[in-house]
Amino acid sequence: MEVKIIDQRENEVKFVFSGVNVRFANALRRAMIAEVPKLAIDEVNIHENTSLLYDEQLALRLALIPLKADLGDYSVDDRSTLTLKAISPERAGYTMVYSKELISSDSGVKAAFENIPIVKLIATEREIAGVRTIARQTIALEAIARLGTGKEHAKWQPVTTCGYKIMSSEEARSDLSNKKSVTFTVEGDGSVPVDEIVTEAARIMRKKCESMVDGVKSIK
């Protein structure tokens, strides 16, 4: 088995896997999508929400924000709290709330990208009988993030694009051993470095295989 990196960027990697069974490549792809854990918002305590979005919509938007964290510091039951407080401007207009405004209780946890829009808060002004009033929208919430995997919910998927292409070279066609070369394209969502996604998926696969071997041995 041989691995050759073709292209590597901050959140994307392209590599050729040669001398592998396609089934193995597919297992690795599935492990990257559904087994590699990452941190995502799972529960939201809403103190105030007078924005145009329903509480549930707002919670889902928050859940889909990729969070950067050192996963070595987290276990399955660990939680991290992020707070978000925002208000529309004092004059008629609007303000956009971005992911950078999420303040975490753990300094190691933050949004992978600062410019993900969450909600628009609008302020409307009106004058009735000489009295000027202004209605301002506010949000105040507490989001609880926890570790999870993609098989539970897509918000815990560390990859956006993850696929492979079987190389159709003459050499590959003439190979009768069923071993082929595949080109993998893995694009991370920014929460976990791409190289870590690939190695962690391989580690998970090995662990599963080992536990299966142990299980079979115990039957005997």
């Binding site: 995502a40 918002i41 799972d42 529960e43 939201v44 305590n45 809403i46 103190h47 509480d55 549930e56 707002l58 919670a59 889902l60 928050l62 859940a63 989001a143 919910h153 918000k155």
Partner: protein
């Protein structure tokens, strides 16, 4: 209905027997109705 005095913050019971409401402890006229604590809604993010 429970009220509290805005000056001495003590809770005050108001009856409709007499006109005008005053705090029986400090005599202040501004009383505010006691509201339940802020309601926090728990939403599953999915």
């Amino acid at each position: 209905m429970g009220y509290y005095c805005l000056r001495c913050k003590r809770s005050v019971e108001i009856t409709n027997e007499h006109q005008g409401a005053r705090c029986p402890y400090c005599g202040f006229r501004a009383l505010r109705k006691e509201r339940p604590e802020e309601v926090v809604k728990k939403v599953k993010a999915e």
